[in-house]
């Protein structure tokens, strides 16, 4: 039997859920995810945890260095290390 284009597997649904956290899921993908959420407990649990993680990160306003900033820090520190 041909699988309906609206139905996705649990893995696919989780992948869409990940993309949705970054606003990268298309409308059709979000529709497929919503449909899956109606009946799949595993997807529902994953989605809940995933959304909670996004909210936590958002609330924390946690920050990190950009790669170039870290590299600059590393090269400056290496110069000092070599003097030791």
């Amino acid at each position: 039997m041909k699988k309906s284009f609206l139905f996705v597997s649990c893995d696919e649904a989780q992948h869409i859920c990940d993309k949705a956290q970054y606003g990268e899921a298309s409308t059709s993908e979000r529709l497929k995810l919503m449909l899956r959420l109606l009946y799949c407990h595993v997807t529902k649990t994953y989605s809940k945890k995933n959304t909670k993680l996004s909210e936590t990160i958002e609330t924390s306003k946690v920050q990190c260095l950009k790669a170039e900033e870290r590299n600059k820090l590393q090269s400056e520190f290496e110069k000092e290390l070599s003097k030791q």
């Binding site: 993680l53 936590t56 990160i57 946690v62 900033e69 600059k72 820090l73 000092e80 290390l81």
Partner: protein
């Protein structure tokens, strides 16, 4: 034998992001934060002989960084005589006295308590990130904290988009589990 060892070769790789997050919430300027971290590493290097190994390297570096941040604010305050503070009060009679209400705490203002909770939450997130494989943590930070788009990360790390999403999925699953244990409960 001391509980913890010291290895400055790994400081930037292991602690720079953690120290940066700690500093940026206190000084709100990326360049100043980086300078303070750099000074912290140098001070750590000079006083390595004083490291007894009772606390972790990270805790020891944070204690140095705290002093650097205090020194930074002392320096700023030593110039306060040169600064001019302006406050605009309403002078017309109808709104006279309203200035006081305008200056009472605004719900949207960040309180010291909010800062503390955010700082502890940041620590919890970094503790969990520290448990991830290096690549997962790197991709997660680039995507989630630095808001880089998929294409940029793929180019920079030489990975495919599907590779990126697999890494992100693993990182998010581990982080959610870790936060569930260490923060939510």
């Amino acid at each position: 034998m001391p509980k913890h060892q010291i290895n400055p070769n790994d400081w930037v790789k292991l602690y720079s992001d953690y120290l940066f997050n700690y500093t940026i919430t206190r000084v709100s300027d990326r360049e100043i934060a980086q300078d303070l971290i750099s000074e912290t590493f140098l001070a750590g290097l000079k006083s390595m002989v004083n490291f007894k190994g009772e606390a972790s390297e990270r805790t020891w570096l944070i204690s140095i960084l705290k002093r650097k941040i205090i020194d930074h604010y002392r320096k700023i305050n030593s110039n306060k005589g040169k600064a001019e503070v302006r406050m605009n009060y309403h002078s017309d009679t109808e709104t006279e006295g309203d200035w006081l209400e305008e200056r009472v705490s605004d719900a949207s203002d960040k309180t010291a308590e909010d800062t503390l909770v955010n700082s502890e939450l940041g620590d919890a997130i970094y503790d969990c990130l520290g448990k991830l494989p290096e690549k997962q943590a790197e991709v997660f930070k680039m995507k989630t904290m630095l808001d880089y788009d998929t294409e940029t990360i793929c180019k920079e790390l030489d990975i495919t988009a599907s590779n990126l999403w697999v890494i992100i999925h693993r990182a998010r699953t581990s982080l959610a589990e870790c936060m569930e244990k260490n923060w939510y409960n």
